[in-house]
């Protein structure tokens, strides 16, 4: 496409035909005031702040909605332009409260800033100002709707990016106002829930930054600080494998709030709510403030030295008595590479390869064949250009909200044909071409059937192992294969989400996916939890040390470590009762163990039962270190504040524990020393197609009711579970048992009543709910709650009334 020239304020600028004037002037650094325009949202041209003087036009034109054409002459500062801009500013201010002194937006307010340049110093408006009632729209966003300037950015964001109809403009003229959808749902503890519904999108917090005034602001940090008093700290969100960039802001050393840090390779302009509000747990009442040890008289707080001495002595005793292989270390995958590296090093120098971070994984059979780390062959920026996608066991919208947003863009702008084979019929914000909901026991068969169909369409001969797992390909499976192969689509992917990677036959799913990808020219995208890529590369797996280095003898994986009790455990920022999918087993093993050291940021109820030493470590926001996202991007995060109480950065705790254990190679002076011990590059993912389809399928009893398990997005790790506002959202439901209608009727049970759930010896009572997203005979009982922690994994259960 050939470029054209336009003239702006006497300067000649090159532009692409069809570009909007404001894009061209933005690129050239010529400032045009604006409120409603945003590069990622549709053009509304409603604020009229960007009016400029275009030669030959009968009236001033909005720069955001005026396409450039060759030879166009524009003046942004002429009498006509300035008078239009000043006029708009005056109109915006007449009904605006101008209560900047009590407004949370003050200091970072585009209205305030631009009124200094374009506003008059006194108002000519002598009438009464408009008042707009505030609504309670949920725990994350504070409203002050009188300040709204009706720019509709929040509305356009919700519809176009978040993909939900949650905010809209109602009324006309001066009476128009932003409201939540009257038919939406209200969070359980919303005040005045009857009057309005809440904003429930998993990326809702972005409207706070889009809103150019103080109408929508961050609720948890309301009135806590002025923006100019705060310092920014560049951090990486640890909650998913995207690694969103953010600024954590502090006031006199105290963490107040988090805002996006734009990175157009990763998160663009957006953050997920989990990234934005996860910081809140940093000052939760439940923070572990001082080291504690348990002796005959119970728990007591002690100094660091006593605690570390106690921990080292306990571990040494077990080592001498039972051998190092009777000890194991388990880590939270959302911690930094440095911590995970030191943890595995400590274990391995002690003499044990029992180290892992995969507490929700069930199938480890392809460990030795696996690439350096599970990740995405696709870069994050390429998600938006996908055109054929198969989601396999993935609720991408809630698991990696920003990838969900990107995939939605692919669906909306690129007409991507997206199919899903899932075990729960998730509520996606994009249309699905094919939705195939199967029970966990049928996942491998379904995928193998798709492979059969692919082989049928392409004529490629089918892998014999895959053939063995296939049955009769049904219409849906055929349609999925046809969709993946339709047209001359170039950008294809199979995306494996949490429930595929944690499936009891994950290795088979992975191998069949790899085979299909190869045949259809698609990329295989594995989206593991948090900093899993970092954990693999740090060697926090039993079969490989850092950088995939071979180990003499593979240690026990997380499942094995917890299935039968070891003598000693070192838990790193974990509550296995909530973090392991086989949580019941985990708790009983931990309780049986002789000695348990827990490094934690929070006091944990379960640890009070099984632990012997508690070592307080920094919250992730107080931690410096490295994260590696699913595309292998290495990103550094800087501590935003000093650790709370007597907590210490995790790497220091591990280093000193290494010293107390008198281990070699724990003499690091600072974090850079640790990093030198383990040099990181931009890690390239190696081919994922090595694994073979295991031919000893897991037997499922087709008549039994199975407990289907997933962990809700804000229950995934301790730092989220203690983040107050996130816990009040719709994404943190009260744990219950979900059954579809047919299963419910078949069992003669009624939704809304209490049922007793039995799994082996374990019995517990939960409320029964109708959940038609499930296939037959599946009872959805979430993990991540103390109420359900005695259950373990995907196992048969019985349900009885009462």
């Amino acid at each position: 496409m050939s470029t054209i020239n336009i003239e702006v304020d006497g300067q000649t600028l090159e532009a692409n035909p069809g570009q909007m004037l404001i894009e061209v002037t933005d690129q050239a650094g010529i400032h045009i005031p604006r409120f409603c325009y945003h590069p990622k949202l549709s053009i509304a041209a409603n604020c009229r702040m960007c009016l400029v003087d275009v030669e030959k036009a009968p009236k001033p034109l909005p720069a955001c909605a005026t396409p450039v054409n060759d030879g166009m002459v524009v003046r942004t500062q002429s009498e006509r332009a300035r008078s239009a801009q000043n006029g708009t500013m005056e109109f915006l201010l007449i009904n605006h409260p101008l209560d900047c002194p009590i407004c949370d937006q003050g200091g970072e307010c585009p209205l305030q800033d631009q009124s200094i340049e374009y506003g008059a110093n006194a108002s000519r408006y002598h009438e009464n100002k408009r008042q707009v009632k505030n609504d309670d729209i949920g725990p994350l966003i504070a409203t002050w709707m009188t300040r709204c300037i009706q720019c509709t950015r929040c509305v356009r964001f919700s519809e176009e990016i978040a993909g939900v109809m949650e905010l809209g403009m109602v009324g006309r003229g001066e009476h128009s106002m932003i409201k939540t959808h009257p038919d939406g749902e209200a969070t359980p503890d919303q005040v005045g829930a009857a009057l309005c519904s809440s904003v429930n999108s998993e990326v809702s917090g972005n409207v706070i930054e889009l809103c150019p005034v103080g109408a929508l602001t961050a609720r948890p940090s309301k009135y806590a600080a002025r923006v100019w008093e705060m310092q920014n700290h560049a951090q990486i969100s640890p909650h998913d494998c995207v690694g969103a960039n953010l600024n954590v802001q502090t006031l006199r050393g105290e963490i107040i709030r988090a805002m996006v840090r734009e990175n157009h390779q990763v998160n663009g302009y957006w953050l997920a709510d989990r990234d934005r509000y996860g910081y809140e747990s940093v000052y939760a009442d439940t923070r572990l403030k001082r080291p504690m040890i348990k002796d005959q008289s119970g728990w007591r707080e002690v100094g660091w030295e006593t605690a570390l001495r106690h921990a080292a002595a306990g571990l040494n005793t077990v080592k001498q008595r039972d051998g190092a292989t009777k000890m194991g270390a388990l880590a939270n995958p959302s911690r930094t590479v440095e911590e995970l590296f030191l943890l595995q090093k400590l274990m391995r120098v002690l003499g044990s390869d029992n180290v892992d971070h995969r507490l929700r994984q069930d199938d480890f059979r392809d460990d030795l064949l696996a690439p350096l780390y599970p990740g995405s062959e696709l870069e994050i920026i390429q998600f938006e250009s996908l055109d054929r996608v198969l989601l396999l066991g993935s609720n991408i919208r809630k698991e990696q909200p920003l990838l969900g947003v990107a995939l939605r863009q692919a669906a909306v702008n690129n007409a991507a044909s997206i199919s899903a084979i899932n075990m729960l019929d998730y509520d996606f914000h994009f249309p699905l071409a094919n939705t195939h909901i199967v029970s966990p026991g049928d996942m491998v068969t379904s995928l193998a059937n798709v492979a059969v169909a692919v082989s049928g369409i392409t004529g490629v001969s089918l892998d014999a192992d895959i053939q063995k797992r296939a049955t009769d390909t049904n219409a849906q499976e055929q349609a999925i294969a046809a969709s993946l192969l339709s047209g001359d689509a170039k950008n294809k992917a199979i995306i494996m989400g949490a429930s595929a990677l944690n499936h009891f036959e994950a290795s088979a799913l992975s191998a069949i996916s790899a085979w299909i990808c190869e045949q259809i020219g698609a990329k295989l995208v594995k989206l593991p939890e948090a900093n899993s890529a970092g954990a693999w590369l740090a060697g926090c797996v039993p079969h490989r040390a850092e950088h995939g280095k071979e180990v003499a003898k593979t240690g026990l994986n997380a499942k094995a470590m917890l299935a039968k009790p070891l003598s000693a455990y070192l838990l790193y920022d974990l509550e296995p009762g909530l973090d392991a999918s086989r949580s019941g087993e985990a708790l009983s093993s931990l309780e049986t163990a002789d000695f348990v050291v827990q490094c934690a940021a929070f006091v944990s109820d379960e640890a009070m039962n099984y632990a012997d030493v508690l070592l307080p470590i920094a919250h992730y926001t107080e931690n410096s270190g490295t994260y590696i996202n699913c595309e292998g991007r290495v990103q550094a995060s800087r501590a935003a504040a000093d650790p709370f109480g007597e907590a210490r950065p995790g790497w220091k705790v591990l280093r000193v524990l290494g010293n107390y254990l008198e281990l070699e190679g724990f003499d690091y002076i600072d974090l850079a020393d640790v990093q030198d011990d383990y040099v990181l590059g931009d890690e390239q993912i190696v081919s994922q197609s090595g694994a073979s389809v295991n031919d000893s399928p897991v037997k499922i009893d087709s008549k039994a009711i199975y407990r289907y398990v997933e962990t809700p997005m804000y229950r995934l790790d301790a730092s989220l579970r203690h983040a107050a506002a996130l816990q009040q959202t719709m994404d943190t439901p009260t744990p219950a048992v979900g059954l579809n209608e047919k299963t419910l009727v078949g069992l003669g049970l009624a939704a809304g009543a209490e049922v007793s759930v039995r799994q082996g010896e374990i019995e517990l009572k939960l409320l029964l709910e109708l959940d038609n997203r499930l296939p037959d005979n599946q009872a959805f009982i979430p993990a991540g709650y103390a109420e359900t922690s005695s259950l373990s994994g995907y196992e048969p259960i019985t349900l009885e009334a009462g």
Partner: protein
């Protein structure tokens, strides 16, 4: 149809072919809709509507619906009802809704009514119209109530000028034009309602 387009066009005048439906309302004896050839002198149209009611004198006419500029009687009585004819006298044919006002009409009250209409009709999408129409109405209302100030007149005109040409749709212009024309032709009536200009003796 039978007689062809040319015949129809020739019923009217140059640049305004054919006939036009005028809806004459206000202070006339027989308000109603009249289909007449384009270019008919206003006087004749007024006669068809039975003339100004109660034998009163004509004061002003809004010839094309509430959004077009108001025209004083003297000018209007000489004008022809077609595109060019009305644009020559600074107004427009608009929708052909002719509003006739007799000599007893208070022009401030009329403008209050008109600005109220636009204030209510604004959709609220864009800033100048959403905020400006309410402002116009409130100033006019205040003047009409006898609590206006001299500055109000300048502000009123300036606000109208700042709406005109700055909005997404034509409703903003429509709200501005009557204000501009009423102040142009009847400023004295507005001034007469401003206490500062009319001290009690």
């Amino acid at each position: 149809m039978r007689r062809g387009g040319e015949w129809f066009r020739d019923l009217g005048v140059k640049n305004s072919g054919g006939t036009k439906l005028f809806s004459v309302s206000g202070h006339v004896e027989k308000p109603g809709n009249f289909e007449v050839p384009m270019g008919m002198p206003f006087k004749e149209l007024l006669e068809m509507a039975g003339g100004v009611w109660k034998g009163r004198k004509l004061k002003a006419v809004i010839p094309g619906g509430s959004s077009v500029p108001v025209v004083p009687a003297e000018t209007m009585l000489e004008a022809n009802m077609d595109y060019d004819g009305l644009s020559e006298i600074g107004s427009a044919i608009g929708a052909g809704s002719v509003i006739v006002m007799d000599e007893t009409t208070c022009m401030v009250s009329v403008l209050e009514r008109l600005t109220y209409f636009y204030h209510e009709e604004s959709c609220g999408q864009c800033t100048p119209c959403r905020e400006g129409t309410g402002w116009l109405y409130r100033i006019v209302k205040r003047i009409n109530n006898g609590t206006g100030t001299l500055e109000d007149l300048d502000t009123l005109l300036d606000v109208a000028n700042r709406i005109e040409g700055h909005t997404i749709c034509a409703l903003g212009d429509a709200a501005a034009w009557p204000v501009q024309s009423f102040l142009k032709h009847y400023r004295h009536e507005f001034e007469a309602k401003i206490p500062a200009l009319n001290p009690p003796d």
